[in-house]
């Protein structure tokens, strides 16, 4: 795999260099043109003289030169990104921006070598008119509004006071040092230094946001940093303009009134910019209300009007950045309500594409622009002092402001948050663009300022960007050396968090809530009515959308119900081992919902440490599973929602989904109450399968619903059968993996590996019955009996965040084996023992495969349900009919798959050694599949654990007797 990876990256680099050469060619051509214009034209004329008449093909480089070069640059930038992402290891350690800068330096060097002039640099014009707007609009559009306005005070403080503080202190300190004479003779006064301070004050904190994904970050810190990065660009530009005009006027000509005017203009420019942005935002919302019949160009309006707002504001010399940011913030709600689903997706992706592309180009050009001897002047003390001052004052500013803010904030910003904020004070392209914009006529030390800015930008981006992740990790580790919380702690702490947040809501921070209530009322009464389509207004109604989703859920449960029955019948007809495949379908469909819901759940498994510490005995492992599920499934209180923003990815915030889910549940409860009050205690309604009803059943334990008995007995049969099949199935999984690589079709992926999970789930279905009876008679439930499969699967699959469900279900059957089945189990176990040693040696490979396979399964199912969801959403009225269709389809495919699997199974049992070898052979490929499929997985953490587990002799996991004792005491 490594060789392949290297080969690929080599190919990538070759491609890049080829492109670079390609880029240089036009440059060389154009320089040639410039050098020998006469000879060229003569040449051309002479040719023209010889070849008269019609040209079939002719070469017109001049006509296309500019757009062609631009397109090539964009292509290079995009290809560079692609290449960087081929190898995850690199991008995990080195931020993309650094790679781009380095690439830019290389390309710049090549162009320089070919051309001896810096033909391509980041000009302020391009930057401010084409590259910056998409970035800011993107940030504004994806800004979580509620949190933004909840924390607006802190954000404004950091953005305004923080920027002014940085500007003034840096400028003054540099001026002070300059007066001591260390820097030598510079042609600059106080104003010039302040101007430089304003240039260098712009903090680009978006880079920090990517680090946030890996550490525990509360909502407050996230939104503060995000908001700051959005607003302080605007503030910086305003400050810059004020100082710039002062410098232009000249220090001598400024009177007291001018300073006052400067302060006034600061506010006018910012507030005016915001006002224009809000106006355009609402205008945009209004326009989208009427675009129902031109769906194709619908998304275009969002971009065109936002861009117009930017230009308008710039024309009025207001803060264009603030304008477009607020335009994005204001329009997002209405745009998302008005546009149709596809248009919204288009808008989101286009937004991301533009922003990500713009940023890529900016960073690359930051590298290219540095290769230009005309801009460089070196002054060591000046550069060094600038670096020192900006770092020191950033820290001081953040700490001081946080100290003040913490007096007023309910959610405090802690020490580590402040560390992250201060250290995350990277300087970005904004500083560079502003400094290049300086006028050499007024600012005589422009060259020094430019070179210093470049050094500062490079230093912060490269040095701090590289070190911030390790630093934060180190801090984090230092902080989290507490002991592992117990299950109860976790559970109840979560409950208490909910309680506390509820009490907060009830007692209410009146100021905020009051304003917000007022605003939402105003919004409902006027704004929404004006700006939203009627249909959007209706669908805004929570009830309806919930109803729709409930319908969808019911449809799914119908479907699984149907499959259950259908498959049961199938079993009757063939009475073979394959009954087990009925269960999985049910669970797969169900779990797919959960997968959709939790798809954005933490990428980082927080339990990693726990895992390492706790892998001691089987019981502990069970505990880990429980812990893990708890971690994954517990509703997060508001504070812990993970907000995410990345310029290069579309991020889904789970909070919204969770809210919806809770609301749905309460609705469902109410509905069911209503139903039961209407229908009496009749449980024989069609959707019996839904969980709530199951819960209801549990309560009426004596009134056993009629459907339960047969399934139970069937499930027991299934148990017996699975006993026999287990080895085969185990192998079959491996086989499934090796199959997968060859089958590219998504559908094909999940039937084989289903098999492995399936048989584990069928018995789990009646687990509740078991425990219930065990409970009511106060008899301890049967002790867990580790089955061979659990032994293999459990330690391995636990690592996978997404598979927790399968984990659990795979764990279940071991628990509920009735005691009279022990014998059979023991038999099958002993027969397996010799196989196991083999298995444990390959367990690592299997693990890799398993991970990839389960993930694929999940993905496939996710895709499916998402598709289904989309469909349903579109034709909500035909929902029932569609659901039926889906059901029929799925039932059909299911049956087909079942038939496919049925013979395989028996055959597999005999082939097992062969297949194990097979899986070994394919493991490299499987790993690669996994690599490609799973981004953002902390692999280095995972593998040591895996090896540990793998190296443990399997037999030591199975102390059934000791376990029995431990459990029976309870």
């Amino acid at each position: 795999a490594e060789v392949m990876g290297r080969a690929r990256s080599v190919v990538g680099w070759v491609l890049l260099t080829a492109l670079a050469v390609l880029l240089c060619c036009p440059a060389a051509l154009s320089s040639l043109d410039e050098e020998h214009p006469d000879s060229d034209t003569e040449h051309g004329e002479s040719h023209g003289g010889n070849e008269t008449g019609f040209h079939i093909v002719s070469f017109h480089w001049e006509n296309v030169q500019t757009p062609y070069v631009i397109a090539l640059w964009i292509l290079v930038a995009s290809l560079a990104q692609t290449v960087f992402h081929l190898s995850e290891k690199v991008t995990l350690v080195v931020p993309e921006s650094i790679l781009l800068i380095v690439l830019g330096l290389i390309l710049g060097g090549i162009v320089w070598a070919a051309d001896h002039t810096a033909s391509f640099t980041l000009t302020p014009n391009v930057f401010f008119f084409y590259l910056l707007p998409p970035i800011i609009l993107d940030a504004g559009y994806f800004m979580p509004n509620q949190q933004f306005f909840r924390n607006i005070g802190s954000i404004l403080m950091y953005a305004i006071i923080g920027t002014v503080w940085n500007t003034v202190t840096t400028g003054l300190s540099l001026y002070g040092v300059f007066r001591t004479g260390i820097m030598g003779n510079l042609d600059a006064g106080l104003l010039e230094f302040l101007l430089f301070g304003s240039v260098i004050a712009a903090v680009d904190t978006v880079a920090v946001l990517t680090v946030f994904e890996e550490i525990h970050v509360n909502e407050a810190l996230f939104i503060v940093v995000f908001g700051e990065s959005l607003l302080n660009d605007g503030v910086t530009v305003v400050l810059y303009n004020v100082f710039n005009s002062f410098v232009a006027v000249g220090a001598g000509n400024i009177q007291g009134l001018d300073y006052f005017k400067g302060i006034v203009s600061f506010f006018v420019v910012s507030l005016g910019g915001i006002a224009i942005g809000i106006i355009f935002g609402f205008l945009l919302s209004l326009v989208t209300r009427f675009t129902k019949h031109v769906r194709v160009i619908e998304p275009g309006f969002v971009f065109v009007i936002s861009y117009l707002s930017y230009l308008t504001s710039d024309m009025l010399s207001l803060s264009a950045i603030l304008t477009i940011a607020f335009c994005g913030i204001c329009c997002q709600k209405y745009v998302q309500a008005n546009l149709c689903e596809q248009s919204i997706i288009t808008v989101r992706y286009t937004m991301k594409m533009l922003a990500s592309g713009a940023e890529t180009i900016i960073f690359m050009f930051l590298g290219v622009s540095a290769v230009d001897t005309t801009i460089w002047t070196w002054n060591t003390p000046f550069i060094l002092f600038t670096l020192v001052f900006i770092s020191v004052y950033r820290v001081i500013g953040v700490v001081a402001q946080t100290w003040i803010l913490n007096h007023y904030r309910v959610v405090q910003l802690e020490m580590i948050d402040q560390m992250v904020m201060s250290y995350g004070g990277l300087r970005g392209s904004m500083a560079f663009a502003l400094v290049v914009l300086l006028d050499l006529k007024h600012v005589h030390e422009k060259r020094l300022f430019v070179s210093t800015t470049i050094i500062v930008v490079y230093f912060t981006i490269i040095f701090q960007g590289l070190t911030i992740k390790p630093l934060v990790k180190w801090l984090k580790i230092k902080r989290s050396q507490q002991k592992e919380p117990s299950l109860n702690e976790k559970l109840h702490e979560r409950a208490f968090d909910h309680i506390v947040s509820a009490i907060e809501d009830i007692s209410g921070q009146i100021g905020h809530n009051y304003l917000r209530d007022k605003w939402s009322r105003f919004d409902k009464k006027y704004l929404s009515k004006i700006m939203m389509r009627k249909s959007a207004l209706i669908s805004q109604d929570n009830l309806l959308s919930i109803f729709r989703e409930l319908n969808l859920k019911d449809a799914i449960s119908y479907l699984s119900e149907g499959e259950r029955q259908g498959s049961l019948m199938f079993m009757h007809s063939s009475n073979d081992v394959n009954i087990d495949f009925t269960g999985p379908r049910y669970s797969v469909i169900d779990s797919s919902i959960s997968a959709v819901l939790r798809e954005s759940a933490s990428d980082v498994c927080l339990d990693m440490k726990a895992l390492e510490n706790r892998v001691k005995s089987l019981k502990d492992q069970e505990e880990i599973v429980t812990h893990h599920t708890l971690q994954q499934l517990l509703y997060k209180p508001r504070k812990r929602y993970k907000l995410n923003y990345s310029r290069h990815k579309l991020v889904h915030n789970e909070g919204v989904k969770q809210d919806k889910e809770i609301f749905q549940q309460t609705m469902k409860k109410r509905l069911e109450n209503l139903k039961s009050s209407k229908l009496g205690a009749n449980h024989n309604i069609a959707f019996k399968n839904t969980k709530k009803e199951k819960g209801a059943k549990k309560k009426h334990s004596d009134a056993v619903p009629n459907r339960n008995l047969p399934t139970q007995s069937l499930a027991l049969h299934a148990d017996k059968d699975t006993q026999d099949v287990q080895p085969g199935q185990l192998i079959q999984e491996n086989q499934g993996e090796s199959n997968e690589k060859s089958v590219s079709d998504v559908e094909g992926h999940y039937d084989p590996s289903d098999g492995g999970i399936s048989f584990l789930i069928t018995p789990a279905n009646n687990e509740s019955d078991e425990t219930r009876t065990g409970n009511s008679k106060s008899i301890p439930s049967p002790p867990p009996l580790p089955s061979p499969t659990t032994l293999d699967e459990k330690p391995i699959s636990r690592k996978d965040d997404h598979v927790s469900q399968e984990d659990l279900s795979s764990e279940k059957p071991s628990r509920i084996f009735p005691s009279y089945l022990q014998k059979t189990w023991m038999q099958s176990y002993t027969s397996l023992e010799n196989v196991e040693s083999q298995v444990s040696t390959v367990s690592e490979h299997v693990a890799a495969q398993e991970e990839s396979s389960t993930e694929i399964v999940l993905k496939a199912t996710v895709d499916k349900t998402e598709e289904a969801k989309l469909n349903e959403d579109d034709h909500s009225t035909q929902l029932d009919r569609e659901a039926l269709d889906v059901k029929v389809q799925c039932a059909e495919t299911l049956n087909e798959e079942l038939e496919d699997n049925c013979p395989k199974d028996a055959a597999l049992q005999e082939q097992k050694p062969l297949i194990i070898k097979d899986s070994k052979m394919h493991s490299a490929a499987a790993k690669r599949v996994q690599n490609r499929r799973s981004f953002h997985r902390p692999k280095p953490l995972r593998y040591p654990v895996l090896q540990k587990l793998g190296s443990l002799p399997v037999s030591c996991h199975i102390p059934p007797h000791s376990l029995e004792q431990e459990e029976t005491q309870f």
């Binding site: 309680i499 939790r598 499934l633 809770i662 969980k691």
Partner: protein, 208 residues
């Protein structure tokens, strides 16, 4: 907002004595109370529906019920009341007060106990002074997101939690029938106390 009728000074003083809030906090809370009740002097369960953020809370009903639980209001009777006055409202909220260091040790112990009792009652839905497995399961069920296996998962988690609690309170058969005293012990004894402490120790402040 300025026109809301405020409480007479003597009443504020009384309330401040009984609940431990400062008069300023009481006034803020009174305004909030009136805001929630639309100016009425008593509060019913519907009033809590006016809080949009509360809808997102998975254990909303439990929390709301806590406000109407007779045991929390010092009525000695179990069961719920239909409407509560401002005083009752304050009494319930006072469980969440931040404890300063200027209390005596016994006081702190007492308040801690009170807080634990309050939380215990929130779990003990039927009011028999015991948290049964069934009740624990219910709350786990509410806390878990409703995904496929949650049904089974929640019960197994509850089982595990009970077992853990039982292990900590050595030898006591709490898992089946936790008597009230024991159960309180169990709350304290299990290392949950960091959680409770943080609740007691002022995660929640009325500063705003």
């Amino acid at each position: 907002m300025g026109s809301t009728p405020s409480l007479p000074a003597w009443e504020i003083r009384n309330l401040a004595n009984t609940t431990g809030f400062t008069s300023e906090q009481i006034e803020i809370l009174h305004r909030r109370f009136l805001h929630l009740t639309d100016g009425k002097t008593t509060m019913s369960k519907d009033c809590f529906d006016n809080i949009p953020d509360l809808d997102c809370n998975p254990i909303k009903s439990r929390i709301v019920n806590a406000f109407f639980d007779g045991r929390n209001l010092g009525l000695q009777t179990s069961g719920t009341v239909d409407e509560i006055t401002f005083e009752n409202f304050l009494t319930t909220l006072s469980f969440f007060q931040h404890m300063d260091d200027n209390h005596t040790k016994e006081d702190l112990e007492y308040y801690k106990n009170e807080k634990l009792q309050f939380l215990f009652r929130m779990y003990d839905t039927n009011g028999d002074g015991k948290i049964t497995l069934e009740e624990l399961r219910e709350i786990v069920d509410e806390l878990l997101s409703k995904t496929s296996n949650a049904e089974k998962t929640s019960s197994s988690i509850a089982d595990a939690a009970m077992l853990e609690a039982a292990n900590i309170c050595v030898g006591q058969m709490i898992a089946k029938n936790p008597a009230k005293e024991q159960a309180i012990n169990f709350w304290k004894a299990k290392p949950l106390c960091p959680g409770t402490d943080s609740l007691a120790g002022g995660k929640y402040e009325l500063a705003s």
